[in-house]
């Protein structure tokens, strides 16, 4: 909302004075929302049920920080592996080769269909289905390993998250690639730019504009999906707060510990998203709008 202060220019030379329209309902609406907000904050501060001393006691507690790091680790590893998997999936779906396209479609269909929680349990129980895993020449000699040794519960969790993420990332990347104008492909081809270079120098940077907002959504969603791996007894944030409130019974303040950390991490990712999107907006706008910091500095200077 902008506050419009009518300029008191005197109509000295007989000029007419412009009075901007007033918006009384904007003020009424703002006042109402502020009252409701104040009530909510008051409740947060005074309701003993929130138990803030316990919250602050655990917020930076060692086991929580360790769990937080594991959550960050799972998110980053899942995102990197997911997007690395998403690139070939997108390329295969866009390929004129019907086999590649069908395989990619099927992969995406399966991994978008199976709920993440169910998938995680499947991977954790892989040893039950296949006792050994074999590497070698197809139908020829090979080496086998017991599945349980290869796939730890952390491995199962990461595998589940990465495959889930890859299916979605594949679609996000494909959407981005499709958004690039056909004329760009033609111009690059007409100039004789090598195929791989066409992709990463011409098409991908333009596709990134469409990919990034969706990719950020996906990354934030993955951050929260890591809470599901608690089912495999991995000590990430959500598992750890459950362990603690299982011991001391203070459910709400400990859930708040996890909540606030998720909020902080999401805020950091959102800031990262803002600046990455800005980087890839080069050339898309005549001039980039100022960042919030630049706007603040400009306002202070005035």
């Amino acid at each position: 909302m902008t506050l419009l202060i009518p300029q008191r220019t005197k109509g000295a030379d007989g000029e007419l004075v412009v009075v901007p329209a007033r918006h009384p309902w904007r003020w009424a609406g703002a006042a109402l929302v502020l009252v409701l907000l104040a009530q909510f904050v008051h409740g947060l501060a005074t309701n003993p049920g929130w138990d803030w001393p316990t919250f602050f006691g655990y917020f930076l507690e060692e086991s929580i920080v360790e769990a937080l790091l594991l959550t960050v680790e799972l998110t980053l590893a899942g995102a990197v592996l997911g997007f690395l998997g998403g690139i070939p999936l997108a390329a295969m779906r866009l390929s004129p080769n019907p086999v590649l396209s069908a395989v990619s479609w099927t992969f995406i269909w399966v991994f978008r269909s199976v709920p993440l929680l169910v998938q995680l349990l499947f991977w954790a129980n892989l040893g039950y289905l296949y006792e050994t895993l074999q590497v070698g020449v197809p139908f020829g000699p090979g080496w086998s390993f017991p599945t349980v040794n290869l796939i730890s519960s952390f491995g199962a969790a990461l595998l589940g998250l990465a495959l889930h993420e890859a299916a979605y990332a594949g679609e996000v990347i494909r959407a981005g690639l499709l958004s690039v104008d056909q004329g760009q492909h033609e111009a690059a081809a007409a100039l004789g730019i090598p195929k791989w270079r066409q992709f990463y120098r011409i098409v991908l940077p333009q596709a990134m504009r469409a990919i990034l907002p969706n990719a950020a959504n996906l990354l934030i969603s993955l951050l929260k999906s890591t809470s599901m791996v608690y089912i495999l007894a991995i000590g990430e944030l959500f598992y750890q707060v459950q362990v603690i409130y299982g011991r001391n019974g203070r459910v709400v303040p400990l859930l708040m510990v996890a909540t606030v950390w998720y909020v902080i991490l999401t805020a950091l990712l959102s800031i990262l998203q803002y600046y990455t999107e800005r980087h890839f907006a080069r050339g898309a706008l005549r001039t980039l709008p100022p960042t919030p910091f630049q706007r603040l500095r400009a306002a202070l200077r005035r």
Binding site: L191, G192, I193, P194, R201, G283, A284, L285
Partner: protein, 251 residues
């Protein structure tokens, strides 16, 4: 020299080119005229293999484009070989198709580096020189969206020239421009023609055809109706179809 023999091209059931024979000597300007839908653009896109021909051959300086002949068979070249051939043929699009995320300078330097393997310093120097040639020496750092349509098209021409092409193809280079911006692009085309570049230009600018063309080609329904020097085709057309078209355009 450019040599097209018996070029046929269909899109589905629609036959767009029905046997085109065309020869253009090095250093000459060929202007292709014709109503929309007559196959002019498709013909141009067949010359650098952006479209595959169904039948017939395209040769540039004796080199078969897009195919390799073995006995009486034509084998399609690999993507890499086709890209190498295209680097020797400039193409200027109606909608410019500049790369919007790269500056004018980067647009002109990119293919020099990646298609010809020039060093970045050499490519940038050449890009500066060409931007100066098209009158945009001071806009090297601008992104395409910060330029007017006429300026964008001039950058696109510099981009095509940067690869030292044997031949430059222009696909209606002024059709997407405001009338007042057409002149600045045509000036560059005139300049190139005087400098002896081999050009094939699809356009509706009859004035340009009259002044700059060595050969004017009139196409209709996928065929060449007539061709010859501008004073013959434009002033004394032999075919009724050409006369009807010109009477509409020359109002």
């Amino acid at each position: 020299m450019i040599e097209l023999t018996g070029v046929h091209k269909s899109f589905g059931a629609v036959e767009v080119l029905r046997g085109i024979d065309l020869t253009a000597r090095a250093g000459t300007v060929t202007v292709i005229l014709g109503p929309s839908g007559s196959g002019k653009s498709t013909l141009l896109r067949c010359i650098n293999h952006l479209e595959k021909v169904d039948r017939g051959t395209v040769r540039v300086d004796g080199e078969l484009i897009g195919y390799r002949q073995a006995g009486d068979r034509l084998h399609e070249l690999s993507e890499r070989q086709i890209l190498r051939q295209r680097a020797g043929i400039g193409f200027v699009f109606q909608n410019f198709n500049l790369f919007p995320h790269l500056t004018a300078l980067q647009n002109v330097a990119e293919a020099q580096i990646s298609a010809l393997g020039r060093y970045k310093g050499v490519a940038n120097e050449k890009a500066h020189e060409l931007l100066g040639l098209v009158g945009l020496g001071d806009r090297a750092g601008a992104y395409p969206r910060q330029l007017s349509g006429g300026q964008q098209q001039r950058v696109a021409i510099a981009r095509a020239l940067a690869l030292d092409p044997k031949l430059i193809l222009f696909d209606e280079p002024t059709s997407a421009l405001d009338p007042e911006l057409v002149g600045e692009v045509l000036d560059v085309l005139h300049e190139l023609a005087r400098a002896g570049a081999t050009m094939i230009v699809v356009t509706h600018e009859i004035g340009f055809a009259r002044e700059a063309a060595d050969t004017v080609v009139f196409m209709d329904s996928g065929r060449i109706v007539e061709q010859g020097p501008p004073h013959e085709v434009l002033d004394n057309p032999r075919h009724e179809r050409t006369r009807a078209f010109l009477s509409k355009v020359l109002v």
